[in-house]
């Protein structure tokens, strides 16, 4: 068959020697390759319009009505709308990042990733970028619909700073997702239940439906040190409701520094965890044992 291509290198040792540039290019291509299914899913699976906009909107509505029943200041409705939009990102991190390698193992894709020459961080980065693109459209839809339906008005003090805070929030958020992806691979069967566990408790600690400063007082600082969702939400609320009487836990600048540090810690931590866990998984055979 003339169509079968011949090997270019004279021997496998030559074929296996890749330059640093080639390694980098391969990993960048892998990032794009893995992001592709998530981005293309926006057009291929239109059911997301219902589930990933209507569902969060319903959840937001429930808490809006609670605040209305409590006769809370109207800005609290805005807090809930913003918090509801951010839960879309958190759910994406938990289900489409943290638990993803577990699902991939179940489907048989994980083995194929491990035998390919790219680094798994590239796969995770691709999942993160694809997830971010996918979820941003949903979050925006929830904010727009929620704001229109419930008459939320915003006072954005610095739009550019708001974008910067948003980007800075996404980095540690998805970095945490990468870290969890390694841990979930280790914990196997519990992955599904762990993912479930990381919903309501995180909404509570992260102040998705209420400002954590007035809610937790001094304890808020502890929460801020660990949860990028809490820090990012607090900073974004301060910027989006600039005239609000409800203060943030820390100034926006300080919260941006915290987010930056978290981003580095989580991403570096993810890389280390992934390397360690790959070795452990290969030693114990967890990569290939289904139902483990």
């Amino acid at each position: 068959m003339t169509a079968w291509r011949g090997v270019a290198a004279r021997n496998p040792r030559e074929a296996a020697e890749w330059s640093r540039g080639r390694v980098i290019r391969t990993n960048l291509r892998a990032v794009f390759g893995r992001a592709y299914p998530r981005i293309i899913g926006l057009t291929r699976e239109p059911s997301w319009v219902f589930f990933e906009i209507v569902l969060p909107f319903l959840a937001v509505s429930a808490f809006v009505f609670v605040y209305r029943a409590l006769q809370a200041p109207e800005e609290f409705v805005g807090f809930v709308v913003i918090g509801g939009a951010m839960t879309a990102f958190w759910l994406n991190v938990v289900w489409m990042m943290a638990a993803q390698f577990y699902w991939e193992k179940d489907q048989g894709n994980l083995e194929l990733y491990f035998t390919a020459p790219m680094h798994l961080m590239s796969v995770l980065a691709g999942m993160a970028i694809g997830g971010l693109v996918m979820t941003s459209s949903r979050a925006l839809a929830v904010i727009v619909i929620g704001s229109v339906v419930y008459g939320v008005s915003y006072q954005v003090s610095d739009p550019l700073l708001l974008v910067a805070v948003f980007v800075l929030t996404m980095i540690p958020l998805y970095g945490l997702g990468m870290l969890f992806a390694s841990l979930f691979l280790l914990w196997g069967r519990e992955a599904f239940h762990l993912a479930q566990l990381l919903q309501e408790p995180i909404y509570f600690l992260g102040g998705v439906n209420f400002p954590i400063g007035p809610a937790f007082g001094q304890l808020a600082a502890i929460v801020m040190a660990t949860l990028p969702l809490a820090v990012g939400l607090d900073a974004m609320r301060q910027l989006v409701f600039a005239g609000s009487e409800t203060n943030g836990v820390l100034p926006v600048g300080a919260e941006m520094v915290i987010l930056g540090v978290m981003g580095v810690v989580f991403i570096v931590g993810a890389r280390i965890a992934l390397g360690y866990l790959e070795t452990l998984a290969r030693r114990e055979g967890r990569l290939t044992l289904r139902w483990q």
């Binding site: 291929r44 790219m118 290939t288």
Partner: protein
């Protein structure tokens, strides 16, 4: 051609922690596969074939022993190995359902570092070769089992690997699909020197048809290794032929046939109830070598008998296995193997 083995294993052992007792999936495997060879691992379920392949493809670490693929150590040089190998497993349902067949292959081309345009070109080439042109824009979740496996196979060739690992690639495929896949592997291997294939299978016909050499594996050990002919000769050194004639030569005295050069024995076959029709007679001759057949045929013709039928009786590789182990492939699966762990 490289001067070191494509695959080299010495004392490779793999023990899984399992309850109540640990399971030894591999118990000291020694193996050398030369570049350009089509090598088969043949054995029943639970023999350790898949465990060995997973060690060689860097998915699993050996508990002890050393293994190298293309000269690189499987424990310490995994990234280099992954650049020159690929793997195709049978019975898989892997793949992203919402992607089209073409997109699925392209995505993997990116994982192997192919440049965009080159990636698409390679994908389209492989789609054509594997006969998936009509399905190229179909979503992966709509493909049949055979089509998925062809897709899987195409993915396995994306990076033009030096060593291709096939783990029961025809599992669950119908006769035509399995035959197509086997032919593709042979054509691919023949197209360039140095391409090596390691196949695991429990289908004897597949191993005999494809492999230059076969290792028979059971309970984590290699029991025998050689070409298919060499393995069969372990069970039956002589060649046995069933010859159907219109009449018995030498007035039924078969000793005259047995006395011919190269003939070890000659007996009536139809007296054993081998179902010969009444207008013909059948004899079974055992020959030291196939070349003695000419002497026998000439001899019986000189006695006025006409040759009606001729068939060679050979032991199968399962006969070899039974000879080595004392049980057949389907008998008494290896005890204590955790499901999915040892294989």
């Amino acid at each position: 051609m490289p001067d070191e083995p494509a695959i080299h294993a010495r004392g490779v052992t793999r023990i899984y922690k399992a309850k109540p007792d640990p399971v030894t999936a591999l118990a000291g495997v020694d193996l050398d596969v030369e570049p350009g060879e089509y090598f088969g691992l043949l054995g029943p379920n639970g023999a350790g074939k898949t465990t060995l392949i997973k060690i060689l493809t860097t998915l699993l670490l050996p508990t002890s022993g050393t293994a190298k693929v293309a000269g690189f150590d499987v424990v310490h040089e995994t990234s280099k190995i992954r650049r020159v190998i690929n793997m195709v497993a049978g019975g898989e349902q892997s793949g992203y359902g919402l992607l089209t067949l073409r997109e699925q292959l392209w995505m993997f081309s990116q994982f192997y570092g192919l440049e965009q345009r080159e990636g698409w070109r390679r994908v389209d080439e492989l789609i054509e070769i594997t006969g998936l042109t009509e399905q190229r824009d179909q979503k992966v979740r709509t493909l049949s089992t055979g089509q998925r496996q062809k897709l899987n196979f195409a993915r396995g060739l994306l990076n033009d690997p030096w060593v291709l690992f096939l783990d029961e690639p025809t599992l669950g495929l119908d006769v035509a699909a399995a035959r197509d896949l086997r032919e593709h592997t042979l054509e691919w291997k023949a197209a360039a020197p140095g391409r090596t294939v390691l196949l695991t299978t429990h289908y004897m016909v597949e191993a005999e048809q494809l492999c230059d050499r076969i290792a028979i594996v059971d309970r984590g050990r290699i029991l025998a290794l050689g070409t298919p002919d060499e393995l069969r000769r372990r069970v039956q050194a002589e060649s046995i032929f069933r010859i159907e004639l219109d009449q018995l030569p030498h007035d039924g005295d078969l000793d005259a046939i047995a006395a011919l050069p190269g003939v070890l024995s000659a007996v009536r076959a139809d007296e054993d109830g081998d179902g010969a029709a009444s207008d013909r007679v059948a004899i079974k001759v055992a020959l030291a070598d196939d070349s003695a057949l000419t002497t026998v045929v000439t001899g019986v013709a000189q006695q006025g008998a006409h040759l009606i039928g001729l068939a060679k009786s050979e032991p199968s590789l399962e006969d070899v296995f039974v000879e080595l182990v004392g049980r057949g492939f389907g008998d008494d699966d290896a005890p204590g193997n955790a499901k999915g762990a040892a294989e």
